[in-house]
């Protein structure tokens, strides 16, 4: 097998037949699943003749709603993989008492590394970015984001990173250094293989994408609000999106620097984080968590925004303490930069420094507490409807408080010394991220799905999924608190302490519920698509919504608003319904400019992903070609000046008037029947 001499290394670098995953049955099965899945999708598209449609309608689209939906698709695919990986680890630990189980230590280490990296960078980030992309422009009364092409580039960089993660399952072994990629586990001496390189480049692509998304979203909020939409009339989701995007702008560069310098260590033999040559691993820990802690709030703030919308909407009340929620969000965003050291209290700083960061960390509990009270008071004396998004919000409030309290425990350096690196920590951050982020994103998916596709998601299967997510989380992670206090270290592939076993078995059962939850989401989607006629809500307002996006058709037209709204109140659509001015008949329509499709983003993202693959495998020609192709795509695009397409006023008028006529004929729904097929998307309060 010619792998080190002749033409082979020039073409294939260090890639050889050994890179295929035949070293383990599970790895082979997983890789086959990816390959078969990809082939099936490709075959299906060919059979249905939908490649052209996919390319024109989706992949090259610059419509913020479609880009948002594609982000969510990426997130859901990656969620499926990472939940399965998590379940494999839970299953291993459920049988691992005095027993090597079915996973080799190295394979187990790969699993917790991919699970964490995917969940953070390729599930959570694309999910929240997708939801922001989809909902935010409509909420502020805009037709587009500020930089539609940049948006597509961000999407395709994210897709490239996610693709690289998938490729790593088939070709080569992933890093064993965890999602945080600490050297020396990831330096060239300890791990000269391709794993850390996969991690570096997948994460870097995601990081660059998020930086650009942050810029795009922040500028959109500053510059694209409709008439009368002053900042203090924006829905709260927009405020949380603003804070998240500002955090992205400032907190993603540290990650890019950390992965970049680690790459220099590995590729060019430099000494940033090495044990010798004057390197200092602590610089990596500081750089990484300078990103990593704001990242936690990048993840959670949009979910807070979603909960604020959902709780207000399904309590039929204006959000309580709107201003205090904004201040609290801002405080959290600022404080998030002052606490990073709490991720490594045990790594040698002075007690005084630890104390300072401990106090700063506990301080974050205050604005978060304010939010919880605001949400409770929003529900108080309201008519709470227990729809699926609201159920998630309720479960979130209970479970998140528990997670928050364990966070306050961990913020105390003295306690942290006792439980650090134990499964107590694993329980804590899953407690924040599953009920916090994941429930919020699924609530958002359920809430805004009709706006994207024109029909509601099936309510019953939504409840089944909800039940499984909650039961699954509680069973899989709450036992890890006592287990951590008993001293079980995290990332343990085998243990010899019989007292751990009952807890790990319960956690294993929890993992089964989480798999069931995932399956329920799939079933829900399939059933909803089959019943789409029955679930259709063409009127556009299935939930008696309060914000601007509910005053336009479901699915939303490409240009969002036939005539740009002018608002004079918070919860503008609700106010319009009260005044009887919702669904206005416009006299004057104008031509609307929308961005033309562009393949620049696709070419850019795929070229850089190919370049990253080349770097991972030392195929230098591919790295050079990929980078040049990416630059070429941007240069070529700069010569295209005709980037906008006009939708003529007459066409807008025709569509808008057809919809208004339809709305007038629809039966109005009261809130008791909003989850039945009587719901056609016109709320009783606004019957015209």
């Amino acid at each position: 097998m010619p792998t080190t001499e002749g033409w082979w290394p020039l073409v294939f670098g260090r890639l050889s037949y050994d890179a295929l995953p035949f070293y383990s049955g599970i790895a082979t099965a997983a890789a086959s699943l990816v390959v078969v899945g990809a082939i099936t999708v490709a075959a299906l598209l060919t059979w249905l003749g939908r490649w052209g449609w996919l390319w024109r309608e989706w992949l090259t689209s610059l419509d913020h709603k479609k880009i948002g939906i594609m982000y969510v698709v990426i997130a859901m695919v990656m969620l499926a993989r990472a939940v399965v990986e998590g379940s494999l680890m839970r299953a291993q630990q459920a049988i691992a008492f005095d027993n090597p189980g079915y996973l080799e230590p190295e394979h187990f280490a790969q699993l917790f590394s991919t699970h964490g990296s995917i969940m953070i960078f390729f599930m959570a980030m694309p999910f929240l970015t997708g939801i922001i992309n989809f909902a935010l422009p409509m909420q502020i009364g805009a037709r587009e984001v500020s930089f539609p092409l940049l948006n597509s580039i961000s999407l395709w960089l994210t897709a490239g990173g996610a693709g690289l993660m998938m490729v790593s399952l088939v070709i080569g072994k992933f890093s064993t250094g965890g999602w945080s990629g600490y050297p020396p586990y990831t330096d060239a001496t300890f791990n000269p293989g391709v794993g850390p390189d996969y991690w570096i480049f997948a994460v870097t692509l995601g990081s660059l994408a998020s930086t650009m998304t942050g810029i795009n979203v922040a500028v959109t909020i500053y510059k694209k609000r409709c008439g009368g939409m002053n900042p203090f009339r924006m829905p709260l989701f927009c405020w949380t999106a603003l804070c998240t995007s500002v955090l992205m702008i400032f907190a993603m560069p540290p990650l890019t620097v950390a992965t970049g310098l680690l790459a220099l260590d590995r590729y060019l033999g430099m000494h940033f984080f090495t044990n010798d040559g004057g390197g200092n691993m602590m610089n990596f820990a500081n750089l990484f968590w300078l990103f990593g802690h704001p990242e936690v709030y990048i993840l959670i703030l949009p979910a807070f925004g979603v909960y604020s919308q959902v709780i207000s909407n399904f309590s039929s009340k204006i959000l309580y303490g709107y201003d205090s929620l904004i201040v609290a969000t801002m405080c959290i965003a600022v404080l998030s930069f002052t606490v990073w050291v709490h991720h490594f209290f045990t790594m040698g700083q002075s007690a005084d420094l630890n104390a300072m960061f401990g106090v700063a960390t506990m301080t974050i509990g205050i604005p978060t507490g304010v939010k919880i009270f605001d949400w409770i008071l929003t529900m108080a004396w309201g008519r709470v409807r227990f729809t699926v998004p609201m159920l998630y919000a309720l479960a979130f409030m209970v479970l998140f408080v528990i997670g928050g309290l364990t966070g306050i425990l961990l913020a105390n350096p003295a306690v942290d010394f006792q439980v650090h690196n134990s499964v107590f920590l694993v329980a804590h951050f899953h407690n924040m991220l599953i009920p916090g982020l994941l429930y919020g994103m699924i609530a958002a998916y359920t809430y805004w799905f009709p706006k994207a596709f024109g029909f509601r998601l099936d309510e019953w299967w939504g409840r089944v999924a909800f039940g499984c997510w909650v039961a699954g989380f509680c069973l899989a992670f709450l036992p890890l608190y006592p287990l951590g206090l008993m001293g079980m270290p995290r990332r343990t592939q085998e243990f010899f302490e019989p007292d751990y076993l009952p807890f790990t078995i319960v956690a294993g059962v929890g993992a089964l519920f989480l798999l069931a939850a995932l399956a329920s989401l799939v079933v829900q989607l399939v059933i909803s698509i089959r019943r789409r006629e029955e679930l259709a809500v063409p009127g556009g307002d299935p939930w008696n919504g309060r914000t601007l996006e509910w005053g336009i058709p479901c699915p939303a037209p490409e240009y969002n608003f036939a005539v740009l709204p002018i608002v004079d109140a918070r919860d503008a659509f609700h106010a319009a319904k009260e005044d009887g001015t919702a669904y206005p008949a416009h006299r004057i329509y104008s031509d609307i400019e929308v961005p033309k499709n562009s393949m620049t983003g696709v070419v850019f993202g795929i070229s850089l992903a190919a370049a990253a693959f080349g770097l991972v495998w030392w195929m230098w020609w591919l790295a050079i070609v990929g980078v040049l192709a990416a630059i070429g795509a941007i240069v070529a695009r700069s010569f295209v000046l005709d980037t906008m397409r006009i939708i003529p006023a007459d066409e807008v008028r025709r569509q808008d008037q057809a919809w208004l006529t339809l709305v007038r004929r629809l039966p109005a729904t009261d809130r008791e029947t909003e989850t039945t097929s009587a719901n056609r998307g016109l709320a009783e309060a606004a019957a015209v």
Partner: protein, 208 residues
């Protein structure tokens, strides 16, 4: 009609001379400023890494052994001069001076940018030949990472300058082209600011 459009942004404003492009500039330039902020965070972290590795010479050469103030000063002069020519290009564009002036100033900026890169490459080669390679120590790794990240930005700026000259020739002074030159100017001046810090912190600080 108001004399000034209400929205002004730091940097060159076209309010008086080209109101239409000025209006379009609002969103694009604001976005670019935000990008520059993010880029500055990247440099800030490279500076912080450099500062934390000042002592990490691992028995190898230190700042006094490898830096030459004359060469760094020359580079500083060339880069500052290029900022002046870039500024002159912006003014030529704003006041619609004859096109050859805009071409001339942009070309001068490009030449100065390339000279700067050449001088920097000469420094690096000389240092490496004395054994001060990036692999030698943590301090040298941090030095090369910081200074060549700046150099990479200048190189990107040079490509952008060349592209701007081509686009001027192809499209003339359309507002799209103007907006790109306005952003290029901001980018170029920022690189100057970063270099001032490199010169002060790395070179002067190292030799002090």
């Amino acid at each position: 009609m108001s004399v000034l459009t209400p929205h002004r942004h730091p940097g060159l404003n076209l309010g008086h001379t080209d109101p239409e492009t000025h209006r379009e500039a609002e969103e694009t330039l604001f976005g670019f400023w935000v990008f520059l902020m993010s880029d500055l965070v990247l440099f800030a972290l490279l500076f912080a890494t450099y500062a934390s590795m000042l002592g990490a010479t691992d028995g190898g050469p230190g700042p006094r052994d490898v830096f030459e103030v004359s060469s760094a000063a020359l580079e500083t002069g060339v880069l500052l001069l290029s900022s002046l020519t870039m500024g002159m290009a912006s003014i030529a564009m704003k006041y619609k001076e004859p096109p050859h002036r805009l071409y001339g100033w942009l070309a001068a900026t490009l030449v100065l940018g390339l000279v700067f890169l050449g001088l920097e490459a000469r420094d690096f080669i000389k240092m490496a030949s004395e054994g001060a390679t990036p692999q030698r120590s943590g301090w040298l790794s941090a030095f090369y990472a910081l200074v060549s990240t700046h150099g990479l930005h200048v190189a990107a700026g040079c490509v952008w300058l060349a592209l701007s000259i081509v686009q001027l020739a192809v499209f003339g002074l359309r507002s799209e082209v103007k907006l790109r030159i306005m952003r290029l100017a901001l980018f170029w001046h920022l690189l100057d600011v970063v270099w001032i810090f490199i010169f002060s912190v790395v070179y002067l600080g190292g030799l002090a």
